[in-house]
Subunit: 232 residues, 2 copies
DNA sequence: CGGCTCCTTGACATCGCTCAAGTGTAGTGG
DNA sequence: CCACTACACTTGAGCGATGTCAAGGAGCCG
């Protein structure tokens, strides 16, 4: 296995949306590994663009450490973040030969790159690898559909509640979250504006549901309340 | 291959949201077939619930004729339709052993059922089947992420424009659409209310972009304008 | 013709957005 | 260590797109 350090492409000038903090602790849930496929390990700085929309899909990526956002843009700059990939998560695994969304490092990240062609060849030989590729994709689809329900039908309060609940689950803590992403990223993930995110967080704090130790460090005073807000 | 006619489960009492019209003409784009896997063919009446949320995932379904909606519900009845499955499309192919969404027949439908276990077994033997299963899932993921961008960041006008543009593409016509679904279904697909859907359609008609022959039969006067509204 | 639905339209309310300050907070250089 | 800068975040005021509530029209079927 090779190792490399790179800065990749530089940040697009418009991206006044970088994040600014600590890498979250190791996560409890780690996706299954794509069998014996080795890959290149890559370290990237926060803000690096990993793939751009419509880039040829050369690699499948697995996050080793750090957080990556996958997003789509409208021509006027409106942005929708489809998912945050954290330790163990895969991204860049798609049907078409080009990426359908951009991927950017929110924190400094360590990635494992798997050649797309090699992965497909291996999947053709080994049913277990094929099954894992499919499962990774199917879980992404499930998550995306749950996210669509949130975007289309939940209120701002429910969106923030669901988000905090989701992050707590992913970080494996019941009562404490470290947010690696900015308010702007949260807004673009939830289909809100940055102001509404901020106001709604404040509202949850006033209600005693959470405590904002710092803007990126959140204590969950009443996790059950967040679970209720995120419930279907 | 067996054939059967059934009425399946009856419509939940709350579902005052049935659709009421003609099956669209055959579609131009037909998804690849899952190899040699035969299955049961099933005819269902409009309104039939094909699978409920959290039902055990026994089958993978392919639509032969008609239209199916996949949707998720919040406990208070708010609904989000994730996708409409039309001739050739698959649904019910998921990572978990239970369905993540309900599927309901919008029109009378003909379905091909493929036993989930049998499909996975076949995929374990035949890499081409495995690849097809993955591709179907990956395309669903891609569609779901484009849909998330629409739900999170587009205006009502852009949502309706994108929807009409999408339907025109799927039906293979440039200037005419037959909508198999109700205004309520469209609203639940786009994250709007039925009134906003109706008003926005009227607005597009006043602007000369479309012509509502009947509420379900739409002529596209300026397809380029719809393409512009749906553009990224 | 009567009774359903489905759809459209109007009047009004409201949630979340826009615009605009103002307040941290981290990083940098003297 | 402090001053300065640059972001990131919060808060307020006002507005507007979309939702809510209510009524009426249109098509379909018995």
């Amino acid at each position: 296995m090779q190792t490399a350090v790179a800065t990749a492409r530089s940040i697009p000038p418009d991206a006044s949306r970088r994040s600014a903090q600590v890498i979250p602790a190791a996560h409890r849930f780690v996706a299954p590994d794509v069998g014996s496929l080795t890959g290149i390990t890559l370290h990237l700085d926060r803000g690096a663009e990993i793939v751009a929309e419509e880039d040829p899909a050369e690699y499948i990526y697995q996050v080793v450490e750090g957080t990556v956002r996958s997003c789509k843009l409208l021509s006027d700059g409106r942005r929708q973040i489809g998912s945050f990939a954290m330790a163990g998560d895969y991204f860049g695994l798609e049907a078409r030969a080009t990426h359908g969304y951009a991927a950017e490092a929110i924190t400094d990240v360590t990635l494992r790159l798997i050649n797309r062609g090699a992965a497909f060849t291996a999947a053709g030989r080994d049913p277990e690898i094929a099954r894992t590729l499919w499962e990774v994709t199917a879980k992404g689809l499930d998550a995306s559909q749950r996210h669509a329900l949130l975007l289309g039908r939940k209120t701002a309060l429910e969106k923030i509640g669901s988000f905090l609940h989701e992050m707590a689950g992913r970080q494996g803590h019941d009562d404490e979250i470290e947010l690696p992403m900015s308010r702007q990223d949260i807004a673009d993930y939830l289909g809100l504006t940055i102001e509404t995110v901020s106001r709604t967080m404040t509202q949850l704090e006033s209600a005693g549901t959470i405590c904002l130790e710092t803007s990126r460090h959140v204590l969950l005073r009443r996790p059950a309340e967040l679970a209720r807000l995120s419930r279907c």
